[in-house]
Amino acid sequence: MLLGDVAHLRTGDKGDISQISVIAYDPADFPLIAREVTVARVLRHLSGVAVRAATRHELPDLGALNFVLEGALNGGVTRSLALDAHGKALGAQLLDLPLDGDAES
């Protein structure tokens, strides 16, 4: 099972911070998502992002997680040389994050 089978995502930016929300389609899947989608696995999946610090906020009433990746945007949208300076395309790359324990290499 992949994250995109049970959750949808939206990506935003604030300065040099990328923010990615992960939201269960069915609130019943939230415990699974909360267990599997850890900061470590998000960073391992997005291995090309240089992150200074990462935080995960839990919103059980919404069935959502909120990831805050500091330093992820190459200095922020106004300075970045990146094609996607906002990092808008980051969250979509988590759709194929596997939800099967430690199977991901």
Partner: protein, 445 residues
């Protein structure tokens, strides 16, 4: 006595370049009391400040008058009052221009309020202020262009209390554009933190306009958005306790669902327990969303704590130049030829003495936006070389060396483009709130 009124407030733009047709649809069919245009990205004010130096009457959003020309006649006919931050670096100049436009259109007399006081360039110059998004202080920034504090909802409510039909601001917190009219309409106390927190939830849901109604959402096979081409913008039906139903005009395209609301509720929120605004520290953890009809979501809950004693300030400054060049390769071996081209350009820039302190070599289709490192060799790839430069001449050389790959590089390069842009960057700091004095000036048109 319980105030049972419902105030209807619409989101007519979620960014400076947003579409105008959905705003007109909202005015004509949304039975609105207020319409908000949010048009000010982080560095827009710095760019506008440069424009104002070139033209003292300029410095506001160049699209403002086009939006007003399209929307104002219908808004005036229906008594819809408009709030916008499109004043950018010159809210007063924008107010005069809107008043003049109303006269030109033959509309009844219009009261246009300008909200001033966000410009804190002089205050920032008095001493160094620690930056909050990086090391150093405001004094370390080269060539500061602008400094603007994020004002709250108070001056917008004041302007409406004074009878403004249109309120034009510079920098204010985006949710405040919606909270201000609600304070005016319901006579709320801005000191009621819990109420301000709940109202901020509603403002935050609306501030990106189409992103609540199915924009930035569709994903084939996963998330279907009907009529995306005719995407309607949202409105909120707000009650006196700041609970609301968010919805859109019947028959408009798009989708307003629990899923779209959850995505937007968390959009650009860092800590959901502490969303800092000028008037309140909002807490989104207790927000409840409930479907109450087709494209109708009830929003209740949310909370707030007293306002912080400092205001966020965005400082715009000159940050040199960025030069860029792109070229495409296709067919078998395309990726290898693009990689050879990178090596060639890197060596040539060294030979001609263009310093590459900070550069990116992107293979579009492989690793330009993908960060998983799992891109497969594509049938075509577009090489993008982009670098920071202190001078415009050095920046021009970046794209020139990419373009020169046509006749001096690997086999089969095509479609080269090049560009140079001057960079206006933004840094953030905090200043004591009492250093900022918002005020309202009314212009009669």
């Amino acid at each position: 006595m319980i105030d049972k009124r419902i105030i209807r407030i619409g989101a007519g733009a979620g960014f400076a370049g947003d579409r105008i047709e959905p705003a007109l649809e909202l005015v004509e069919q949304g039975d609105l009391d207020f319409l908000v245009f949010e048009c000010l990205a982080e560095r827009t004010i710095a760019l506008a400040q440069n424009a104002r130096r070139a033209d003292p009457d300029g410095g506001f959003d160049p699209l403002l008058l086009e939006r007003m020309r399209r929307v104002l006649p219908a808004a005036r006919a229906r008594g819809v009052r408009i709030i916008t931050n499109a004043g950018a670096a010159n809210p007063l100049g924008a107010a005069h221009a809107v008043a003049a436009l109303a006269q030109e259109l033959g509309l009844p007399p219009l009261r246009v309020a300008a909200v001033l006081g966000d410009d804190v360039l002089e205050a920032i110059a008095t001493r160094p202020f620690p930056l909050i998004d990086r090391e150093g202080t405001s004094a370390d920034l080269p060539a500061v262009i602008s400094a603007n504090a994020y004002l709250g909802a108070g001056p917008i409510a004041d302007a409406l209390d004074q009878g403004a039909d249109v309120v034009v601001t510079g920098r204010v917190g985006d949710p405040a554009l919606f909270v201000g009219p609600l304070i005016h309409a319901f006579g709320w106390s801005i000191e009621d933190s819990s109420l301000m927190g709940r109202a901020t939830v509603v403002g935050h849901l609306l501030e990106c306009a189409g992103q609540l109604t199915g924009g930035y959402f569709a994903d084939a096979g996963r998330k279907h958005v009907p009529g995306l081409a005719r995407l309607g913008f949202p409105l909120a039906e707000v009650a006196a306790d700041a609970s609301a139903v968010v919805t859109k005009v019947a028959g408009s395209g798009g989708l307003l669902s629990l899923a779209t609301c959850k995505e937007q509720l968390l959009y650009e929120i860092l800590d959901p327990a502490a969303y800092y605004q000028a008037d309140v520290v909002a807490d989104f953890r207790s927000v409840r969303l409930r479907e109450v009809g087709d494209d109708r979501i009830a929003v209740t809950g949310g909370d707030g704590r007293p306002r912080p004693d400092s205001l966020k300030v965005s400082i715009g400054y000159d940050d040199g130049f960025i030069g860029e060049g792109q070229i495409s390769y296709a067919g078998p071996g395309a990726l290898e030829r693009a990689r050879l081209a990178i090596d060639v350009v890197r060596e040539r820039l060294a030979i001609v003495g263009v310093p590459l302190d900070e550069a990116r070599f992107d293979l579009m289709g492989v690793d330009a936006v993908d960060r998983t490192g799992r891109g497969l060799p594509p049938r075509e790839v577009r090489l993008r070389i982009c670098a920071r430069a202190a001078t415009i001449e050095a920046a021009q050389r970046i794209g020139a060396e990419v373009e020169a790959l046509y006749t001096n590089g690997p086999f089969g390069g095509g479609g080269a483009t090049r560009s140079v842009r001057r960079v206006v960057a933004v840094a953030s700091t905090l200043i004591p709130a009492d250093m900022v004095q918002p005020r309202v000036i009314m212009v009669e048109g």
